[in-house]
Subunit: 781 residues, 2 copies
C-alpha cells in the first residue's frame, strides 16, 4: 500500500515519510522518536541540523528551579521540575570533500524515513548531492533497545554514488545543546539553558564518555559511546573529549560503490545516589555488553520482543487502512513510553519531547495503564510501583493540605507537586482516585497478590483515608467533596464534581473491600473496623448532583445553572478556548474542555442507569469542545455504549490521528501518549464494550458502519484472549491459558478451548446529539 496522507504513507506495519519537508521536521522528530521507557531519542537527523528540538531524555532525570509565584501563598509548590535534555549521542556529522552534509543546502533527491513497528527501528535513506555536485547515499537505522535498557545503537552507512570521495565522519556526544525556550515567559526555561555541569570527560580507542550532574536536583549521569567501523581503507582516526563534547573523527577515502559503515553504540546511566565513577562503570559495562552482543543480534532481540508484544496486543481493523496503521502506531508508542520505565513515571509525552516539562499526570493511570494492564501488565505494575515509591511525598502533601492519608501530585517527575496554578493543579485531587482506579483494574486483570501485598493495598488505603478526611457530611447526611477541580479544566474549585465523587466512592469501597478480605494487610496498615465502616458510609452517602428539571446529572453542583458558552459566537480559530479567553470567563459558564462526567460514566458504569447515560451523554456532548487530546477517546467509548456508533467512530478517528495529523498543533513538543492509548480504548472499551469488574471482564461489542471487522487481544489473569467483532456477531477465542468467564451484552459465558460465537443484539439508531458549533469531530482530507 502506498496511499498518501498528510505526508505519511499508509502501511499496516510501518510509518514512512517520503520526501524532504523541512516544515514537518518539528512533528516528525516526535513521531519518529525511539524510546524504551528509560532512554528516549527524538527522531532528528543524524547530522544534528536542521533540527527543531534536539532531545535526548532519561526517564526521571530532571532539574528543579524555584517557582516564580506572582503572589505566593501557603502550601504553594516551591520548586518546578523539568526534564533535562541530556547529552546527545545521536549526532553523526558527515563531510563530503569538506562540505558538510546538510539537507538545507545542495539537493536531496531521495529522502525517506521509516518507523518499523515490528523491527522497532527507525530507518532512513537519503540521496544527497552537495552544492558542488558530489552525490552520496546515506542509510541509517537506529534502535533504543527494549532488551538492554541502557543501550541505543545507530548504524550509519555512506556510499559515494558517482565518484571516489574523501569522507569525514564526526560522531559526537554533545552536552548542553542550545534549545529554544518552551513557554511564552522567557524565565520559565532560564535555569535550563545549561542544566548540566561537567564532571568527567574520558576517551579510549574508539570510545568516549562524558559525565555530568545537575546543579539543583543533584542528579548524576554519564553518557558513553563506542564504535565499530567497516571501511575498505583504514581511516585516519582521532578521538577527543572535553567538558561538553566528545568526538570521534574518522577521515577516509571511499571508492564509488563502496560503503563506509559506522555502528555507534550509546550507553546511558543516571542516579541520584551513585557516584560518577560508579556511573562510568555502569555505562562502560552496557557498551561492552552491547558490542559483544552486536548489531545483528540486538536487532533480532528487538524483533523478538516486539513479536511477543504484538501477539498479546495487536488490534486488526478491516475497512480503514489508515486507522489500522494509526492503531499500531499508537500501540507502538504506548509500548515505547511504558516498556522499561521500571519504577519511574510514564510522562504525558513519554520520552518523545519536552512538552509539559516531562511531567506525569492523571492520564497515565486513566488512559495508559489500562492498555498496559491488558497487553504488558508488568509495565503497568511498574508504573504503579513508581506511584507507591512516592507515597511519602504524597503523605507530606496531604499533611501540608490538612488532610489524612496521601494526596498525589497533579503533575510531577519526582513525586512532589509541580503545578504552578493550584486551582487547576493541586485542587484536581481526583488524581489520587485515578491511581486507585488503575490499581483496582490492574489487580482485577492480573490477580497479582504480591503487588497487592507490597503496594496495591497501601495505595488504596492511603487514598481512601484522604477522601474520608477531604469530604464531610452535611445536615442531610450527604457526603460532600467541596472545592475541587475535575477533569474538565474549564471549571474549577467546584462542589461535588461527579467524576471526583464517583471515583472517590470507588476508591473508598475498594479500600474497604481489600481491608475486609486481607485482614493481614489491614492490620499492617493500621486499618480497623471503624475506618472500614467509615469508608463504606462515606461511599454510600456520596453526593450526586442532579438537575430534576433537565433530568441530567450536574457535572458539579450548580453547573447546569451557569450560562451556556456562546459557541455560535466563538470563531473557529479561537480554539483551544484557553488561549483566547480568560479562565475567569470559562469557569463561569457551561463549557467543557474535555470529557468529565462522560468519562465518569465509562469508568464507573454502575453509577448510572442506561437512561441516565443516554441523557447525560447528549447533554454534555452539547458543551464539550475537546480542547484536550484526552477527550475524544472518552467520548468515543460512551458514544459507542449509548448507541451513537458513527459518532464513536468519528471520535476514534480523531483520537487516532491526533498526533499523526497534528490536530492540536503541538506534536513538536512530544506525542500525546494518553490519546494514543485512547485509540486502543476506543476499540476495546468503545466498539468492544469491554468493562472490567472485580469478578471479570465483560464485553458489549458493536461495530460502526465504517468497519467490517475488528479483532483485539487482551491478557486476563494468565490467559490470552482474542475478540473478533463483525456487524452481526462476535467470536471469542482463548489463545492461551486457562478458561475464563466473560460477559457478552449482559450474558456470562465461559471461554475455553473452543471459540465462542455470540450474536450482537439489534439496536435502534439514535438521533445524533448536538455538538458545539464549530467543533465537529475531525474529518480526514
Amino acid at each position: 500500500m502506498s496511499a498518501h496522507s498528510q505526508g505519511f504513507e499508509i502501511d499496516d506495519w510501518q510509518l514512512r515519510w517520503r520526501g524532504l519537508d523541512l516544515t514537518a521536521l518539528p512533528r516528525t522528530e516526535s513521531i519518529f522518536a525511539l524510546s524504551n521507557g528509560h532512554i528516549g531519542l527524538r527522531g532528528g537527523l543524524e547530522e544534528g541540523e536542521p533540527v527543531d528540538t534536539p532531545g535526548t531524555y532519561l526517564n526521571g532525570f530532571y532539574e528543579k528551579r524555584q517557582f516564580p509565584h506572582a503572589e505566593s501563598g501557603y502550601g504553594y509548590p516551591e520548586h518546578a521540575q523539568s526534564l533535562v535534555n541530556v547529552t546527545n549521542g545521536k549526532i553523526i556529522r558527515l563531510f563530503v570533500e569538506d562540505e558538510p552534509v546538510d539537507v538545507r543546502y545542495g539537493e536531496t533527491a531521495e529522502h525517506d524515513r521509516v518507523l518499523d513497528f515490528r523491527s522497532g527501528t527507525l530507518r532512513r535513506n537519503t540521496v544527497w548531492t552537495s552544492p558542488t555536485g558530489r552525490r552520496v547515499r546515506i542509510r541509517s537505522e537506529r534502535l533504543v533497545s527494549f532488551t538492554e535498557r541502557a543501550l541505543a545503537v545507530i548504524r550509519y552507512e555512506v556510499e559515494p554514488l558517482d565518484d571516489d570521495l574523501d569522507l569525514v565522519l564526526q560522531s559526537d556526544l554533545l552536552t548542553n545543546e542550545p534549545i529554544a525556550a518552551p513557554g511564552r515567559d522567557p524565565r520559565l526555561a532560564a535555569v535550563l539553558e545549561r542544566p548540566l555541569i561537567a564532571d568527567l570527560a574520558v576517551t579510549r580507542n574508539y570510545s568516549a564518555l562524558l559525565a555530568h550532574h545537575t546543579a539543583a536536583s543533584g542528579l548524576r549521569m554519564a553518557a558513553g559511546m563506542d564504535h565499530e567501523l567497516e571501511a575498505h581503507r583504514t581511516p585516519r582516526c582521532d578521538i577527543h573529549a572535553e567538558d561538553d563534547l566528545a568526538r570521534l573523527t574518522l577521515a577516509v577515502d571511499v571508492a564509488k560503490g563502496d560503503r563506509l559503515r559506522l555502528t555507534k553504540y550509546l550507553g546511558y546511566g543516571w542516579s541520584s545516589q551513585r557516584s560518577t565513577p560508579a556511573l562510568r562503570a555502569q555505562v562502560d559495562a552496557a557498551l561492552a555488553a552491547g558490542m559483544e552482543t552486536g548489531w545483528d543480534e540486538l536487532l533480532e532481540r528487538q524483533r523478538a520482543y516486539l513479536d511477543k508484544f504484538w501477539a498479546n496486543a495487536d488490534i486488526e481493523i478491516d475497512g480503514d487502512p489508515e486507522m489500522q496503521q494509526a492503531i499500531r502506531f499508537a500501540l507502538f508508542h504506548v509500548l515505547q513510553a511504558g516498556a522499561r520505565g521500571e519504577t519511574r513515571a510514564i510522562p504525558a509525552k513519554g520520552l518523545t519531547g519536552p512538552g509539559y516539562d516531562g511531567h506525569s499526570f492523571w492520564d497515565t493511570e486513566i488512559f495508559v495503564l489500562p492498555v498496559l494492564t491488558h497487553t504488558m501488565p508488568m509495565a503497568a505494575r511498574d508504573a504503579l510501583r513508581w506511584r507507591h515509591s512516592t507515597l511519602d511525598q504524597a503523605r507530606r502533601r496531604a499533611h501540608e493540605l490538612r488532610q489524612s492519608g496521601a494526596m498525589f501530585p497533579w503533575r510531577s517527575i519526582n513525586g512532589e507537586e509541580g503545578s504552578g496554578y493550584w486551582p487547576a493543579g493541586t485542587a484536581a485531587v481526583h488524581v489520587s482516585a485515578d491511581i486507585a482506579h488503575a490499581t483496582v483494574r490492574y489487580l482485577a486483570a492480573t490477580g497479582d497478590e504480591h503487588f497487592e501485598t507490597e503496594a496495591g493495598a497501601e495505595l488504596l488505603v492511603e487514598t481512601a483515608r484522604m477522601w474520608a478526611s477531604l469530604g464531610h457530611h452535611d445536615s442531610n447526611a450527604t457526603f460532600r467533596i467541596d472545592g475541587v477541580t475535575g477533569p474538565d479544566e474549564y471549571s474549577a474549585l467546584a462542589d461535588n464534581n461527579i467524576y471526583t465523587n464517583v471515583m472517590a466512592r470507588q476508591n473508598m469501597r475498594e479500600a474497604a473491600e481489600t481491608c475486609s478480605r486481607r485482614t493481614d494487610l489491614a492490620e499492617r496498615l493500621g486499618v480497623g473496623a471503624d475506618e472500614i465502616a467509615r469508608w463504606r458510609e462515606c461511599a454510600e452517602e456520596m453526593a450526586m448532583p442532579y438537575n430534576e428539571e433537565l433530568r441530567v446529572h450536574e457535572q458539579s453542583e450548580g453547573f447546569t445553572r451557569h450560562a451556556r458558552w456562546d459557541f455560535e459566537a466563538t470563531p473557529a480559530d479561537h480554539y483551544p478556548l484557553l488561549l483566547h479567553y480568560p479562565y475567569f470567563d470559562l469557569y463561569r459558564r457551561q463549557v467543557v474542555k474535555q470529557a468529565d462526567l462522560t468519562l465518569a460514566m465509562y469508568l464507573c458504569p454502575d453509577e448510572f442507569t442506561d437512561e441516565q447515560k443516554v441523557r447525560n451523554f447528549e447533554y454534555y456532548e452539547g458543551l464539550t469542545v475537546r480542547d484536550s487530546s484526552l477527550s475524544a477517546s472518552a467520548q468515543a467509548i460512551m458514544a459507542a455504549e449509548v448507541g451513537h456508533l458513527d459518532l464513536a467512530y468519528d471520535y476514534f478517528v480523531e483520537a487516532g490521528l491526533t498526533d499523526l495529523h497534528d490536530l492540536h498543533d503541538n506534536v513538536a513538543g512530544g506525542l500525546h501518549i494518553a490519546s494514543l492509548a485512547g485509540t486502543w480504548l476506543s476499540c476495546v472499551a468503545g466498539f468492544g464494550g469491554m468493562r472490567v469488574h472485580r469478578d471479570g471482564a465483560t464485553f458489549a461489542p458493536r461495530l460502526p458502519a465504517a468497519l467490517d471487522k475488528l479483532t483485539f487481544r487482551i491478557l486476563w489473569r494468565e490467559s490470552r484472549i482474542a475478540v473478533e467483532v463483525t456487524a452481526d456477531k462476535a467470536t471469542y477465542r482463548l489463545l492461551a491459558g486457562d478458561p475464563v468467564t466473560l460477559g457478552h451484552h449482559g450474558h456470562r459465558f465461559t471461554l475455553a478451548d473452543d471459540p465462542v460465537v455470540r450474536e450482537i443484539p439489534e439496536h435502534t439508531p439514535l438521533t445524533p446529539p448536538r455538538i458545539p458549533a464549530g467543533r465537529p469531530p475531525y474529518r480526514r482530507g
Copy 2:
C-alpha cells in the same frame, strides 16, 4: 493626661511616644508619618539611622515590572506596579565633635516625639550624650503642607548643653536608598533595588536639586531642597550634588546654650508627561514660594487648615480617653491620606509605607470615601475622579475579560489590574459596584451635579453595563452572577455572592435612575430605554441565595452546606489563617476572613428585613475570624444595628487600636487607612446608626454601656450638622447651612436653627452571638 498605654501617652489632641525604644521604630515610622495625600514622609529620625524602612512617597509615582507567573494564562495582568521610595529629603545628619549622632550609641536621656493633630506637625525632643560625653539637645518639627501641596519643611535645632561644641550638619537628598525586600519571594522586589535613574544634579547657594526617572514606567521626578540657617557664628558651608546624593554641609562652633537652627524646605514634583527642565522649574518655584512664606506662616496655615477640618469632622467621646485619642488619630491619618490626592488614588496604606506595593483597593471606596464624603467632600470627589480618569483602562480590561462596560482593577496604582492571583483579584469584581456605591453616596450627600455630569453618571453607567453582561438569567428567570469572589477572601469563585449581587443590584438601579432623570447624560452615554429597562430587570431578578432550613442567607450559593471550619482545633497562633493553611482548604469551608454578607447588610440596608439581619449577623459572627483589618468596623456597625451594643463597642475598639496597638503585626509596612476610617464609621454608622438614602440621611443612635456621650459632625449638602448622643436621647444641631430633613429611629424631622432632641427607644438586650473560639475581640491590657 498622661496615662500610659502601649508606649503611647493618652492625650486628646496629640500622640506622644516618650522614651527610646528601638524595637518600636518600625511601627512608629508609620504612625508618625506625615502626608498631604501628595507627598508622604515616613516618621523616621532626621539622622537617617537607625531606620527600619526609609520611605518618601509621591502619590502615583510607581515603577512596573514583569509579573512572574508560575503558569501563565490568557488575560493575566502582565505588569506588577510598585510605589517607589523616592529621593529622601528628610535626612539631616549631625556630628558632635566628629561623632555622628546615632541613638544606638552613647546615651539618650530624653527622647520624645509628638504627632500633633491640630498643628499637623511631628515634633521631636532628644537629649543625647555622645560616647565621649558631649551632651546636646535636638529639637525638630516637620510638616508636609496641606496648603502647599509640593512642599515639606523640617525645622531642626541643636543646643550644646554642657560645653561649646564643634557641630557639623549634613542635610541630604538621597536617592535609591537600600531597602529590604518586602515579601518572602526575593524576586518580588528585585527590580526596585535601584528604581531611579539619574537625570540631573544641580546646586546653587544653599539649595540643590536631583532629578530622576524610572526605567519601565517612564515617570520623571525632581526633588529639591533649600535651607535657612540661624547660627551665632558664620558656618563653613559646602554644597555638593552627584547622581543620587545632594548634600549641604555646615560646620560651625556653637556655644553652650546657643542654638543652631536649620530650616530645610523640600520640594517635590513628578510627571509622566513633563520634561526634566519643567519639573526642575516646578520644584524651584515651590521652594521659592515656601521660603517666601516662611516657616511661621506655613505653620499657621497648617493649623488653620486643620481647624477647619476638625470643625467639620471631629468626634467627641465621653468615657474612653484612649478611644478619644484613637478616633482623632484615625481622622488625622484619613485626612492625610486623602486631602490633596487630587485625581490620584488613595492607597490602602495612604503614603505611610510600602505595604501592598502602594496599591489602592476597593476599601478606599467603601471605608475611606464615606468619611471624606461627610467631612471633606472635595477629597472624596477627587478620589472618584481618579477612578473616572482610569475608565479607559477599565473598559479595556472588561473587553479583555469578554464583558461590556468597565471592570475596575482589584489593585492598582495606574488604573491597570495589578493583582497576581486572579481568583482573589480580578474575580473580586465587586470593586466596580463599590466604586458605584461611593459615587451614589457622594452624590446623595453633596448633590454635586457638576460631578454627576462630568464623571458620576458615566461611572454608574459603565459599571452597570458590566453587570448586565457578567450575569445571566437562568431557566427560572433569576439573574445570576457566577464565579466571582466577594469581600471574604477565604472563599473564591463562588456563584451568587450576596454582597456582589446586592451591590450590583444597587449599581444597576442607580444607573437606571440617573439615566431616567438625566436624559441629556443618557443620550451622551448612549443609554436607551431598552438598556435602562434591562438594568432594572436584572436588578429585580437578582439571585439572593437563602437556606430555608437555617433561615439565613447564604454568603454565596452552597456556602452553608460547606463544612464548618474547626475553630476549636485551630491554635491561636495560627491566625491569620492564610499564613498557616492553604487556600485549597480555606475555600472549601465555612470560615469568613472578613465581613461579607454582614457588610452587605450595612451598605444595602433595605435588602434585608430586621429579622434577617439579626439571624444573618449571628450566623456569620460564628464564622468570621477578622483576619482582615477591614472586618471589625463592619461588624461593629451591624452589631450596633441589630442590638449587640457591647459587642459593637468591642469591635469599635479593635478597629480604633488596630494600628496604635499593631494588632495585625504589620504596621511597619504602613497604616491601615480603611480600618482607621472604619473607626469613624463605627461611631457614625454604628452608634449613630447613620444610613444614607437617595433622599437624605437617617440616624438610629444608641450608645454602648461604655460610653457616656458621643458627638459627631457631618456635612450634608451645604449644611453642617452635629449629633450628640447620650444613653437616653439624641440632640441634633444645625451648625451651619440650610435646614435639612433627617430621620431618627424611623421618624423624619426637619432640622433648622433650633436643636432637635429625640428620645432613644428602649431595646431588649440580645444574647451575645457565638464567636469563633480563640478569636474574641481585642481586649486592652
